[in-house]
């Protein structure tokens, strides 16, 4: 396996939430609760989970877009939480992000060439002319015609806007790109184009992706390793094929069961996962999944299971294993 590029250790991110009433007590939302994993060079780590499971917060906390509550994030042997502003700036150059909403993540008052050129200007990547040439090249690279570079974001469709976001993310030739639900808002035919583009760029620039999404089929296709999150914790983590064919955690199993198969002959009406995702403000005792778990045992109601490595690279947090 390639060397570890980013190593996240016991990362925690808590938010304080105001109470509904004026004098009520503030409560603590544990968005990311003691999460550890490694990101290896040139891999794609898929992160799946339902809304509110903390998958986006992990991504943002890794880039220090949110400050952590506790834990550490090591980028090539350096804890990014120990860096000062200038050092952090240099590290961030290597770690870029593509956001979910292609409408709100681009400044509507700027032309596309300025949006894509901004990272190049911040890091003084050449003269005006050199930067403009680089922008033309980047737009071609993501499949946009450079002659549209004087247009504004609203003149593009959702898929094209996402391509602009990608051009901006690869402008500084980073090592790591965190894709936070980057294809979720797109129509399926456009989503397929963007996924292909991400794969092409990965091969060309030897990129490492952390691919955060709720759509299991997309994650399954693009990832080399997959990590499943539930209420701020990682419940299972394994190489893609292991996770798809041999997942252990009951939550992973129900996620796979719930995502619709595109074979109309295969309409299984199995027992579905009951109930809603509990509020992360008030997670259940013991294993957070136990109220919905079909294989819940007595121990699950009071003790959170330890994460164990059941096979090389296959980690699971469940009392069953």
């Amino acid at each position: 396996m390639n060397p570890s590029l980013v190593s996240v250790k016991h990362l925690k991110k808590y938010f304080t939430v105001k109470s509904d009433t004026l004098w009520g007590k503030k409560s603590i939302l544990k968005a990311v609760d003691d999460v550890s994993f490694d990101l290896y060079a040139c891999e794609t780590l898929g992160v799946v989970g339902e809304s509110g499971c903390g998958k986006s917060t992990v991504g943002k906390t890794m880039l220090r877009l949110h400050e952590r509550t506790d834990g550490s994030v090591w980028y090539k042997e350096r804890d990014i939480y120990s860096l000062d502003r200038h050092e952090l700036k240099q590290v961030r150059r290597q770690m870029q992000m593509i956001f979910q909403d292609p409408f709100s993540s681009l400044n509507p008052r700027k032309q596309v060439r300025d949006i894509v050129a901004q990272p190049l200007r911040i890091f003084n990547q050449g003269t005006r002319q050199e930067i403009q040439d680089k922008v033309d090249h980047l737009l071609e690279e993501v499949g946009l015609n450079p002659k549209f570079k004087t247009r504004y974001p609203h003149q593009f469709s959702g898929g094209q806007r996402q391509r602009i976001g990608i051009a901006r993310a690869i402008a500084l030739e980073p090592e790591l790109i965190i894709c936070d639900e980057s294809v979720s808002a797109l129509d399926v035919s456009i989503q397929a184009q963007v996924l292909n583009l991400l794969l092409e760029l990965q091969e060309k620039y030897r990129l490492t992706y952390m691919f955060i999404a709720h759509d299991l089929s997309v994650v399954e296709f693009i990832s080399t390793r997959i990590m499943v999150m539930y209420l701020g914790k990682i419940v299972e983590q394994a190489p893609k094929d292991t996770l798809v064919d041999n997942h252990l955690h009951p939550y992973t199993a129900s996620l796979f069961k719930a995502s619709p198969d595109i074979d109309p002959r295969n309409r299984n009406d199995e027992v579905l996962l009951p109930g809603d995702v509990p509020s992360p403000l008030d997670p259940p005792s013991g294993c957070y999944f136990h109220p919905r778990c079909p294989r819940c045992m007595e121990v699950c109601t009071h003790t959170y299971p330890e994460t164990r490595e059941v096979a090389p690279g296959h980690w699971v947090a469940c009392h069953l294993y």
Binding site: S51, V188, S189, I222, P260, L272, D276, V277
Partner: protein, 338 residues
């Protein structure tokens, strides 16, 4: 399940819905015809802007100004719904034909309790006392799987999760003792996948119970595969293919339908692959459509004639129709593939 594929409960014939804009008139629905039969599920599939939601709103008589239906008929039973007055439509809507909308947060009124919103629908269509209407509302909430419905009915919409709100929407759509048709416009798009599976199962069970017909509008082929009996695929306001669900997935004939299925990463053919067979290009601007097939500019098998004229509908096998110049109906025995 009562399925009678002879009796059409709803018949949309050559529907054209237009939106005048300062730049010209947009034909959001362009000459679309389909039938919905007793007890069946017809999925109307397509990507954003293909006119699937506008078709639903046209049926419900809920088009927002300045949209208008410029030609066609929508036959419900013996009558043309387009000839109905506003008060006649009010008797149909929410009673004989109900609709579930995509976003359960914006379709429920945030300032009224669930109780008030449900009782309003019940009292509008049924001659009940408010006590009886309240009991009926509680019963319906229980039926859609809301725990302790007699307490939840006093809640405001913001007290409920997305999945619970969608259940309330479904309960509201089913207040009538005899709901004939349910139109579900992307009923699960805003929901998490485990909740989506719950809601889809709920809709299927309710449909089995009361034999209603379901017009399911979605962009998600996975939902189609799970729910539909028949599928109609729309592209840029046109219906381009219609078939039985298994036929549609196993023998798609229109290049767009095939492209749509190929775009899904969970397609079995992509096991171990590292590229998807994506459709190139993007959906054309509806203002700039010519006379020809709107898919021409993205189509891999486009010919000269595709620019010039929209193809007429060809039958591949019984119940499988496609509009494509590249599909020659005489090739039907070869599976109709171009």
């Amino acid at each position: 399940m009562i399925k009678d594929h002879q009796t059409a409960v709803l018949e949309v014939d050559r529907l054209v819905t237009e939106f005048p804009t300062p730049k010209g008139t947009i034909r959001a629905v362009n000459d679309v015809s389909f039938q919905l039969h007793q007890g069946e599920t017809l999925a109307l599939v397509g990507e954003s802007g293909c006119g699937k939601s506008v078709t639903a709103l046209s049926i419900m008589g809920l088009l927002a100004h300045p949209g208008r239906i410029s030609s066609g008929t929508i036959r419900y039973g013996k009558d043309d719904l387009l000839g109905y007055s506003t008060s006649q439509m009010r008797k149909i809507r929410g009673n004989k034909i109900s609709m579930i909308f995509q976003e359960p947060m914006t379709s429920l009124n945030p300032v009224f309790r669930i109780k008030d919103q449900m009782m309003e629908v019940i009292l509008e269509h049924q001659d009940l006392s408010s006590k009886a209407a309240f009991d009926r509302a509680v019963e319906l909430l229980g039926m859609v799987g809301i725990p302790s419905p007699e307490k939840r009915i006093m809640d405001f919409p913001h007290h409920l999760s997305g999945g619970m709100r969608q259940r309330v929407m479904i309960a509201m759509a089913l207040t009538s003792p005899d709901p004939g048709i349910l139109i579900a416009d992307e009923p699960t798009t805003a929901l998490d996948v485990t909740i989506q599976a719950q809601i889809l199962q709920l809709i299927r069970k309710l449909q089995e119970k009361n034999g209603m017909s379901l017009l399911l509008i979605t962009h998600d082929m996975g939902v189609v595969a799970k729910m539909a009996d028949r599928v109609a695929v729309m592209y840029a306001g046109k219906k381009i293919e219609e078939a039985d669900v298994i036929e549609c997935f196993e023998n798609p004939c229109h290049p767009y339908t095939r492209g749509l299925l190929n775009s899904i990463p969970s397609n079995k053919k992509y096991k171990g692959a590292n590229r998807l067979e994506a459709i190139q290009g993007f959906v054309p601007n509806l203002l700039e459509l010519g006379k020809g097939c709107p898919f021409t500019n993205r189509c891999t098998v486009a010919m000269d004639i595709c620019q010039a004229a929209f193809p007429s509908q060809a039958q591949i096998i019984e119940g499988h129709h496609v509009c494509c110049h590249a599909v020659n109906p005489t090739d039907a025995d070869k599976g109709g593939r171009p």
